[in-house]
Symmetry: C2
Subunit: 144 residues, 2 copies
């Protein structure tokens, strides 16, 4: 991996978050491959995205091999299913020793599982809760 240079990044899941981040990373000059089981999902990708798309089921290791997971500096497990994200994270971390794995998690109860295998997590539900608390405090302080 070239320091300060381009990273080779695999994004699994081309939903709203995956497609947006794949576009951003591509735009920053990183090499990005995005995997989704539905070809139609790639319609979410913006013009910023200059990487490759792979149609495949990320729970089948063949799809990850096609994406050259053995060469990846970073894997983002961003499907809308915590179990699939966990399987992808586990394959990346434990089989391919991918240096950086980040997963999106729906159910905060699953966090510990991911942390045990040294995966960084994004939990939109917790972020939304904190943001709400902050907004609520601002509102109630204004009126106090």
């Amino acid at each position: 991996m070239a320091k300060k240079g381009n990273l080779y990044i695999i994004v699994v899941g081309c939903g709203r978050l995956g497609s947006k981040i794949a576009g951003n990373l591509s735009n920053k000059g990183h090499s990005v491959v995005i995997v989704d089981k539905h070809e139609a999902s790639f319609e979410h990708l913006s013009q910023e995205f200059t990487g490759f798309t792979i149609v495949g089921n990320a729970t089948e290791i063949e799809s990850l091999k096609k994406a050259k997971i053995d060469k990846a500096d970073m894997v983002l497990a961003f499907t809308n299913n915590d179990n699939i994200n966990y399987m992808v994270s586990q394959v990346a971390k434990e089989v391919y020793k991918t240096l950086h794995v980040i997963a999106r998690i729906y159910n905060p109860d699953n966090v510990e599982l991911f942390k045990q295998i040294n995966v960084k997590v994004i939990i939109p539900m917790i972020l939304a809760e904190s943001f709400f608390n902050q907004t609520f405090e601002e509102i109630t302080e204004e009126e106090a």
Copy 2:
């Protein structure tokens, strides 16, 4: 509305976020009513929640009337559907002049619509994107 006191808050949508926040607010001493069209959704509520539950379709004004929307200091439109959240926000803001309305939005393209009617928004997708960018920068700086 009693300053620094309890608020009367209606939460529409008892999914993961709605139920969590309803519990937190209830725990802080606010009077909370939560509305969901599926009774089973109330199983998400924790023991912290001491408010009322109403089974009803929030797009039917009767459900909001049952929740006493005319007395609400705050309405949280937290269903998993932007259109329903918009309808609820609009009824609260424009018909009942609810002081504070906060909506959760899935599609960032819808933000302007909500802002036009003076509704505060929570966009988990944007929060997740910012959080990712921050994590990504930390990772790449560490290695630089």
